[in-house]
């Protein structure tokens, strides 16, 4: 197990290097002259030249990359063009907000999804099963910004139970987490159900029953551990997705997180911020995947994750 973790960590480092190459290339593969794009329209040529110098765009590409990489490794992600503050500061201010939102949401998603999926599988084709899966289908198909707006309309404005925006207090956190989490719960519920159904038909479940074990033990000890394996992947991907893509939820609820930061940066062509946020999100995603792989290995000793 330990060799496995060390090996995966080394692989992660390699992947992260690849990420830095891609992120670095963002400026260069975007059509147009980066300095011009940053400078904007109708700006004197000298300003554009100055910007080009400042960003080191006159150096050969590989020199630019190594400069970029060494800066990143020292924690310097450049300065925001819009605010002139260091990118790392902009991200730091919003990092934990996004991580908290993503974490609470995935916990809710896994909790609701597992329960719904297991009940549906055990009571296959019953009214409970049909009902839960209909709700799940609705949850998967419904745009989550619509859900967010509906939740605000009823629970924040009309009944005034929760806050309509912001992040930090319980009243503020509940609605965004429900918005983000329920979509995720729907996916996990469907995944859990189909995984459980497949597992319940396996020979080793018949063996477990033939031993005289209680049905509870058959389902929760023997079936569930096997059924969880694909569910863990989905939950991991969802968590990674929430970290990077909670943009809609953050926007609807005016949550000051990294998603909103990135979207605003894209709108204003704030390249250093774009690069910085993409790098951070990609790193988080890669690390989440590493955790998923390690828990795989724990759940099923047989899988060779390589």
């Amino acid at each position: 197990m330990l060799t496995f973790i060390v090996r995966r960590l080394l692989q992660t480092v390699v992947v992260l290097f690849g990420v830095t190459v891609l992120v670095f290339s963002l400026i260069h593969i975007t059509p147009g002259d980066p300095a011009q794009i940053i400078a904007g329209e109708g700006v004197p040529k000298e300003t554009v030249e100055r910007i080009r110098e400042k960003l080191g765009l006159n150096e050969p590409v590989h020199v630019q990359y190594f400069t970029y990489l060494s800066n990143v490794l020292q924690g310097d992600l450049g300065d925001s063009i819009r605010s002139n503050r260091p990118v790392i500061e902009e991200i730091k201010a919003r990092f934990w907000t996004t991580v908290e939102l993503a974490t609470y949401s995935v916990i809710l998603a896994v909790f609701l999804g597992l329960i719904a999926g297991i009940i549906s599988a055990i009571r296959k084709y019953s009214w409970i099963d049909v009902g839960l899966m209909l709700i799940a289908l609705f949850g998967v198909s419904m745009p989550n910004f619509w859900l967010g707006l509906m939740l605000i309309k009823y629970f924040a404005v009309e009944f005034q139970i929760f806050a309509p925006s912001g992040w930090g207090t319980l009243a503020q956190n509940v609605l965004p987490v429900i918005t983000l989490g329920t979509g995720g719960a729907a996916i996990i519920a469907r995944m859990t159900r189909s995984s459980m159904l497949e597992v319940i038909n396996q020979d080793y479940i018949r063996t477990a029953r033939a031993k005289g074990l209680k049905e509870r033990v058959v389902i929760f000890k023997h079936a569930l551990k096997n059924a969880l394996i694909p569910v863990v992947t989905v939950a991991g991907l969802e968590f990674g997705g929430f970290l990077g893509g909670a943009v809609l939820t953050e926007t609807v609820f005016a949550v000051n997180g990294m998603g909103r930061l990135m979207v605003n940066a894209i709108n204003s062509r704030d390249f250093p911020v774009i690069q910085g946020t993409v790098l951070v999100m990609a790193t988080l995603f890669v690390l989440v995947n590493l955790l998923v792989d390690i828990s795989y290995k724990y759940l099923n000793k047989r899988i060779d994750v390589n």
Binding site: T207, A210, K211, G212, L213
Partner: protein, 333 residues
């Protein structure tokens, strides 16, 4: 008269599918004497496995046991509630299955899977359960049991996994072991070892065994009594010697004739003409009549009941009824 451990009376188990009802077990009756081995032989689809699963009430939807009695130690297993039947499973009656490769849970250790049978039926600690698991592994002939007990199923070969299954089945010293084609999925040399092991353990523990197989060789080797099944019914019940020396039902005769012989030259293999009827379109009357060389009109009209020739020999064939015998002066062979 020997003591009877298990008696199955007119067992009926059907599967209710979208295309109709499949009467997988359609009135099966037999008994298992204490300390003896009963073989159940028949083709795929004859209902042998479903019969076995019905004894332990392991039938899942869309299947359902719809009738009959299964008497074990004076109680009808079919009338027991969920807790009572769970007490029987793995404890008084155990079962091993055909596919050792998939019958063990891949995410738990061998020791855990054997130990949990002990803990389900007896109040013992985890450590004690592990100790007993190691002892069972030894008893079924697995070398280095202290090491194997912490291994996972994928680290063992098919033969070893089947031994583990036997260890699990015998952990609580059941009175009856049901072995559903235990060697079909194994190499021939391993087959012999496993059958020897079962025989050995049966003797040591004075257990009864139901040995299910489509292989007449296995039946001949291991069984004291045999029930031959066809289309969900027992068509012949006999002690093993009589079955092979003087089979009575035309199906049994056909099965034995179709065995390749090593001692004489054969130009062709003999086969039973025709094929097993479609379960959704069972013929009226005797299910074997369409393929039977001796069938008369009445055979297509009336399903014969089991005719007793003596205490241990029964046959479901009108040829052995009194009317036929008096009309036809004896039984053709």
């Amino acid at each position: 008269m020997t003591e009877i451990l298990l008696e199955v009376k007119d067992l009926r188990t059907s599967f209710f599918t979208d295309e109709g009802e499949v009467k997988a077990v359609n009135g099966v009756s037999f008994f298992v004497p204490a300390g003896k081995t009963l073989g159940i032989v028949g083709e795929s689809g004859s209902g042998k496995s479903i019969t076995a699963l019905s004894i332990l009430r392991l039938i899942q939807t869309p299947g359902k046991i719809i009738g009959g009695e299964i008497l074990f130690e004076g109680q009808d297993l079919l009338k027991m509630n969920k807790n009572e039947i769970r007490e029987i499973r793995g404890n008084k009656i155990s079962m091993i299955f055909q596919e050792p490769m998939t019958s063990l849970n891949p995410v738990y250790t061998i020791g855990d899977q054997i130990g949990e049978v002990f803990r389900a039926h007896k109040r013992i600690s985890k450590e004690e359960a592990k100790r007993r698991a190691i002892k069972m592994l030894q008893e079924v002939g697995i070398p280095s049991p202290e090491r194997r007990v912490d291994q996972y199923p994928h680290e063992l070969s098919g033969g070893m996994r089947q031994r583990v299954m036997i260890a699990i089945a015998l952990a609580c010293s059941p009175k009856l072991l049901i072995a559903d084609e235990p060697t079909t999925a194994l190499d021939v040399t391993i087959q012999a070892q496993i059958l020897e092991l079962i025989k050995d353990l049966q003797r040591k523990r004075d257990m009864s065994v139901i040995m299910i197989s489509h292989d007449l060789g296995v039946i001949a080797e291991t069984c004291d009594y045999v029930a031959v099944m066809y289309c969900g019914k027992v068509v012949e019940f006999s002690d093993v010697k009589t079955l092979f020396k003087a089979p009575k039902h035309p199906y049994t005769i056909g099965l034995l004739n179709s065995l390749p012989r090593h001692d004489i030259d054969m130009d062709e293999l003999s086969a039973i003409p025709g094929s097993v009827p479609n379960p959704f379109e069972m013929p009226k009357g005797c299910a074997f009549a369409p393929r039977c060389p001796h069938a008369k009109e009445i055979c297509h009209e009336k399903m014969p009941s089991l005719i007793s020739i003596n205490e241990y020999n029964q046959v479901r064939c009108l040829m052995h009824s009194e009317e036929w015998q008096s009309q036809n002066k004896g039984v053709p062979t």
